[in-house]
């Protein structure tokens, strides 16, 4: 049911872990629904220099967390804010329809972490 890319990111997830003193942290989802994603960002001059995640969830939840952190590393926060769930799913070679919500969660987690950064900087929109 999963593409090769999804399985690759599930078996060898990139960027698992936490960042100490992260500049932005975003957590979305809830345990009741079976999905929680937590994204940590290290940001210098509005550039995401490092991204890590921890996820409680299914194979697609882990793979989308891995892919979304890969996609935003090295990008400016403005570029990262344009990340869409569709782009995450496409980069993974597609997701089964019932798993598309995982990519939405991944997009939301990245945005929550950037918003947290902006808030800490007193630049919340």
């Amino acid at each position: 049911m999963y593409s090769e890319q999804v399985m690759d990111h599930f078996i060898n997830p990139r960027n698992v872990g936490e960042i100490e003193n992260a500049d932005g942290v975003g957590q979305v989802g809830n345990a009741k629904c079976g999905d929680i994603m937590k994204v940590y960002l290290k940001i210098e001059n509005d550039i995401i220099v490092d991204a890590k995640f921890k996820t409680f969830g299914c194979g697609a939840a882990i793979a989308t967390s891995s892919m979304s952190t890969e996609l935003i590393k090295g990008k400016s926060i403005h570029e990262a804010l344009k990340l869409t769930n569709k782009a995450v799913a496409e980069a993974l070679g597609g997701l089964p329809p019932v798993k598309m919500h995982c990519s939405v969660l991944a997009e939301d987690a990245v945005k929550a972490a950037i918003e947290d950064y902006l808030k800490k900087q007193g630049r919340a929109e």
Binding site: M7, E18, K32, C33, K54, F56, G57, C58, I62, K99
Partner: protein
């Protein structure tokens, strides 16, 4: 290294070679229609009768009380809709449980939309139905009690004899979905006061797509499929003879081998449960510690999700199943795990391993070695583990 361990026998079993061997001639040589008058038909009829006798004997029923169907779901649908509609003049109340298979559960929901009232009895933390609550639920409008013999997810075996006695005393029909029990628990429909019983061949090393409904003589029930005289005018359609022959052979074998099968599986199961619970912290066994199907082990591992666990096990060649929402295609985890009182987040992290005749002690060794490593790896990825670890007692 290519090791394959199948531990999903509650989903389906392989067909035993001796069962397949008996079935094969009925595809090519003895292909007649049992309803035909000629020799080809008569030969097929004899095989059909023989399968019916074998099935009846396995349950201590009469051959005329065995009706072949396309499987457990059909048998459940027929038993419940067929008696509900045939006995509407007597009442419209049905009693069942909160942990039934969806073939019973959804059928009851359907009847609720069509003028019937259904009581879903709760279960205790082990998944056991309270007989007292059953007694209290009975009204003068109750026409049917349907309680599964053994649960497909957590393996809990229900007090069927007591329920049968109560149903008989109150003159209410008693149906049991015994799809998981046949071949694992001795069943005597007379002694247990069962009026209807569903079974399915592919759960006891027979073929898929064939099952049976036992209907006690005298039970008032509507025919299920109209259009022919097959199955005593109650279930029309040319019989699936190879499948039925396979069912007959498989049920005979299952009853013959039951003592050995149960002793072997129970011993392997208990070692699996003991080792996993001791090797994995924040884990629990779901279901009853002793009154459970011999091959059933159902665990919850806190802080991780079941589908990720299944995928990881599959990559190691181990086949299991889970009650997490992600594996059911809905947003909610298993209704059975919720009914025994598990919070959603713990129900999501469930794993069912069901053993069968092909499993060996080496398979258990392999799972005991691999499963804890997988749980650890997924927990290291989980934000919940770091947050909650050591902070509280497990449920």
């Amino acid at each position: 290294m290519g090791q394959k361990v199948y531990m999903d026998h509650a989903a389906t079993t392989y067909t035993k070679p001796e069962v397949l061997e008996e079935m094969l001639p009925y595809f090519t040589e003895i292909f007649g229609n049992p309803s035909s008058v000629h020799g080809f038909g008569r030969q097929a009829r004899r095989a059909l009768d023989h399968a019916r006798e074998r099935t009846a004997k396995a349950l201590n029923a009469q051959p005329s009380e065995i009706f072949f169907t396309a499987g457990g779901s059909e048998s459940d649908n027929w038993a419940i809709k067929g008696t509900a509609l045939a006995n509407r003049d007597k009442g419209n109340h049905i009693i069942t449980t909160a942990i039934e298979h969806h073939a019973v559960f959804d059928t009851c929901k359907f009847l609720e939309k069509n003028g019937f009232e259904v009581t879903y009895l709760p279960v205790d933390e082990y998944g056991m139905v309270a007989v007292d609550q059953l007694k209290e639920a009975i009204t003068d409008r109750t026409i049917l009690i349907s309680v599964m013999f053994a649960n497909n997810e957590i393996g809990t075996i229900q007090p069927i004899e007591e329920i049968g006695r109560i149903a008989r005393e109150r003159k209410i029909y008693f149906h049991t979905d015994a799809v998981q029990a046949v071949g694992n628990v001795p069943i005597d429909v007379e002694k247990l006061n069962i009026d209807m019983l569903s079974l399915s061949a592919h759960k006891f090393y027979g073929p898929k797509g064939v099952g049976a409904l036992y209907i006690k003589r005298g039970v008032k029930i509507l025919p299920y499929i109209h259009g022919g005289a097959q199955e005593r005018n109650r279930r029309a359609g040319t019989e699936n003879l190879p499948g039925i022959v396979g069912l007959g052979k498989a049920i005979e074998l299952a009853v013959e081998n039951m003592a050995d099968h149960n002793a072997r599986l129970t011993s392997m199961r208990d070692r699996l449960i003991r080792e996993i619970l001791s090797r994995v912290e924040y884990s629990r066994l779901n279901g009853h510690p002793t009154k459970r199907l011999p091959g059933n082990a159902n665990f919850s591992f806190e802080f991780i999700e079941g589908e990720a666990l299944l995928l990881s096990l599959d990559l190691k060649g181990i086949a299991g199943s889970s009650g997490s929402a992600c594996t059911s295609g809905s947003l909610d985890p298993s209704h059975v795990l919720l009914a025994i009182g598990l919070p959603h987040e713990i129900a999501h992290g469930s794993l069912r391993l069901t053993l069968g005749d092909d499993n060996t002690d080496e398979d258990i060794d392999y799972v005991i070695e691999v499963l804890p490593e997988i749980v650890t790896r997924l927990r290291e990825m989980s934000p919940l583990f770091a947050q909650n670890k050591g902070g509280r007692e497990f449920v």
